[in-house]
């Protein structure tokens, strides 16, 4: 690759195709059913490899290295824990609560482990990603801040969300190069408040509509109105949830990735919110009309939109990354890699 001077921006490309993925998806689904769910671990690897390898940046693709056995192990553990919780809750509610509490206590640690698994098993240009997050940080991000948010009637929810993203991004590595996360708490608050404002506005609109179509006065009018206008109310609520959630996820991705850098390389994200809304709505309709067969096409469309809105701006080319310690460690001791080869996703 020739040396380039001055900042250069490279767009992410996504080359996945709906029909191509449909074939992989449907065979995965069939084999998962035939094997009563066991194949789902192999299906997950194929799905992620299809997505990763179709994601290209500067003429090279990403890759996923997770092994189906590790994922199967993780899934068996996760199913076992959920069964344990549900069964104890049914036959001895107090014991069930104790089990639930213990699950909640180990959850941050499990989340940290699964982040580590996911990043360690991702690579680009032959270099592995990595996750350096520690247990303490995991408990802060996944337990302390969410609890604070709960105790303050969700006033601190945007702060908690920012802390979770900060923990995820600031601890990520590409080779030996660290990610740097710059999205501020203020940005999260602005986004959350805008979403809240729109939802409250919709609710007021619905109440007004119901009161108008109801008979009688006061609460009775509201109650009869909700019954009379039920189809409209449902339509408005579904529409507003779709609109707000797609706009929210577009702005969230732009803020989170747009404020992230890997070493001196800046990442930018410009998901067009209106296009995201269109893709969400048409995906939703497509999936409903085809009883789910449109699902793989929907996934590909959404991924293409989200990935192709991203770019990396850097001075020079991308060769200046070098492999990190993690890689040397994995070459020396297979067992350590094997030990955290458990993927628990929730």
């Amino acid at each position: 690759m020739q040396e380039q001077f001055g900042p250069q921006t490279r767009n992410f490309e996504f080359t996945g195709k709906g029909w191509e993925y449909f074939r992989i998806w449907i065979v995965n689904l069939l084999l998962t059913i035939v094997t009563l769910g066991i194949y789902s671990a192999w299906a997950k690897v194929r799905r992620l490899q299809y997505f990763y390898r179709n994601t290209r940046l500067a003429d090279a693709s990403f890759d996923y290295h997770g092994t189906p056995k590790a994922i199967l192990k993780g899934r068996i553990i996760a199913v076992g824990l959920m069964l344990l919780y549900n069964i104890t809750l049914k036959f001895n509610p107090i014991l069930g609560l104790v089990v639930g509490l213990m699950l909640a206590l180990i959850m941050p640690w499990l989340l940290m482990r699964s982040l580590r698994f996911k990043l360690y098993n991702s690579s680009y240009r032959g270099l592995r990603f990595g996750f350096a997050g520690q247990t303490r940080g995991a408990y802060d991000a996944f337990m302390k801040y969410p609890m604070l948010a709960g105790l303050t009637a969700y006033l601190l929810a945007p702060l908690a969300h920012q802390r979770i993203k900060q923990y995820q991004f600031d601890n990520s590595r590409f080779g030996s190069t660290a990610f740097k996360f710059g999205a501020t708490v203020k940005g999260f608050y602005l986004l959350y408040l805008s979403a809240l404002a729109v939802m409250v506005g919709t609710l007021l609109l619905v109440i007004a509509l119901a009161t108008m179509s109801g008979t009688g006065a006061g609460l009775k009018a509201l109650a009869t109105g909700f019954v009379a206008a039920a189809p409209f109310v449902m339509l408005i609520m579904v529409a507003s949830v779709l609109i707000v959630s797609s706009l929210f996820s577009a702005y969230m991705q732009n803020m989170v990735w747009g404020n992230t850098a890997v070493g001196t390389h800046r990442i930018s994200s410009r998901v067009p919110a209106r296009r995201l809304l269109w893709v969400s709505v048409s995906n939703f309709i497509g999936v409903v009309l085809t009883l789910g067969l449109f699902m793989p096409f929907a996934t590909i469309r959404m991924l293409r939109l989200k990935l192709e809105s991203m770019a990396v701006t850097s001075s020079g080319d991308l060769s200046d990354f070098v492999s990190g310690q993690q890689q040397q460690a994995s070459a020396t001791g297979e067992e350590t890699a094997e030990m955290f080869d458990v993927d628990i996703s929730f």
Binding site: I24, I26, Q49, S61, G126, G175, F284, V287, D320, A331
Partner: protein, 355 residues
């Protein structure tokens, strides 16, 4: 066939695994080994030391070499020919994942699998499991359900003790079918909300509401309803329904869950309603056999079913005076948890339905 293997060259990008730098190289095959030519340097690996990623749509193929480093290849046709030279083969999964006809076959097989599981496998599995539930669990389920109902829905019966004993005695004289396993007892209650009704609890307690007793003068008709309820208990319908509907709910939530939780509930209700109708039919058949054993006519059940239907329609019309009752009932048939009463009457008592 080419004799010189070096004829075929495939371009690839080589990464050494230590830095992110990419180097353009040419791949070729020679005597079962892969040859990597980087212009200045040449590397070779026996095929056994190269991990070649499977084909996955049109994604780049990745050749990972033992000891680090890998090649990314986008020339799919070229690589296939090269691998054929050194003896690589495509496996069955690879073929399945890339053929459109296999995709169509998979769609059909999935639909058949889902339909078969819904129609046969799940009811069968639930029955096998439900029949093995120990009596202790059934007792506990029954008593806790009755407690909850007594607390929120049911009121004490208005029937006097003599009438209650009369009905209990008549029920005690009913010979159960030889394979019946539980002890049965009538529990008298009333409920303005539920009107004329009777229902069986898993422990053999049959709740009879005053509304039902008021509905007919013929005690044998009441016995017929009780025989139907006996069928529900003996065939473990409550337990089976819990198992079947939770599996249906889970599978639907898994399949549609990504899109919307709301969407998953509507089909679940429709799918569970079919199970419920099947169970009503099974209980009808059970009642029919019980009555034949006791020398009673199944037409008694048909007759009281007709009366129950009229009573429920009247209640519905009372509750929603503005709604067009006839139209309402028609739409409800579709989703109804009980099969159309006329159909049930026809099966139980062909003579009565033809009148």
């Amino acid at each position: 066939m080419s004799t010189s293997p070096s004829d075929l060259q495939v371009s690839a990008a080589y990464f050494d695994g230590k830095t992110a730098a990419s180097r353009a190289v040419k791949l070729s095959a020679e005597g079962g080994e892969l040859l990597l030519n980087g212009g200045t340097a040449e590397l070779r690996w026996p095929l056994s030391e190269v991990h070649i990623s499977e084909r996955l749509g049109n994604t780049p193929r990745l050749l990972a070499f033992s000891g680090g480093g890998h090649c990314e290849v986008n020339d799919h046709a070229g690589l296939e020919r090269l691998l054929a030279q050194v003896g690589g083969r495509r496996n069955w999964l690879d073929r399945m994942q890339h053929s459109l006809s296999w995709a169509l076959v998979a769609v059909i097989l999935i639909v058949v699998a889902f339909a078969g599981a819904y129609r046969y496998l799940l009811p069968w599995g639930a029955e096998v499991l439900a029949m093995r539930v120990p009596d202790v669990v059934l007792q506990k389920m029954g008593s806790s359900t009755l407690e909850t109902l007594d607390q929120y829905v049911l009121k004490p019966s208005r029937l006097d003790a003599a009438r209650q004993r009369e009905l209990s005695d008549a029920f005690a004289r009913l010979k159960p079918l030889p394979d019946a396993r539980l002890q049965y007892r009538i529990v008298f209650r009333s409920s303005p909300a539920m009107g004329a009704n009777a229902f069986a609890l898993p422990d053999g307690n049959i709740v009879m509401l005053d509304g039902l007793v008021d509905l007919t003068k013929d005690d044998n008709e009441i016995i017929a309803v009780l025989a139907h309820e006996l069928g529900h208990v003996e065939r473990r319908h409550a337990m089976r329904m819990v198992l079947q509907s939770s599996v249906v709910g889970l599978v639907l939530a898994w399949y549609v869950g990504d899109v919307s939780g709301l969407l998953a509930t509507a089909p679940a209700i429709i799918m569970q309603a079919k199970y419920s109708r099947d169970m009503e039919r099974e209980a009808d058949q059970y009642a029919e056999r019980t009555m034949q054993v006791n020398g009673l006519s199944p037409c008694l059940l048909a007759s009281i079913l007709g009366k129950l239907e009229i009573s429920h329609l009247a209640r519905k019309a009372e509750q929603r005076p503005t709604a067009d009752a006839g139209k309402d009932v028609h739409a409800m048939d579709y989703l109804s948890s009980h099969p159309a009463t006329r159909e049930r009457i026809g099966l139980l008592c062909p003579a009565e339905s033809s009148q």
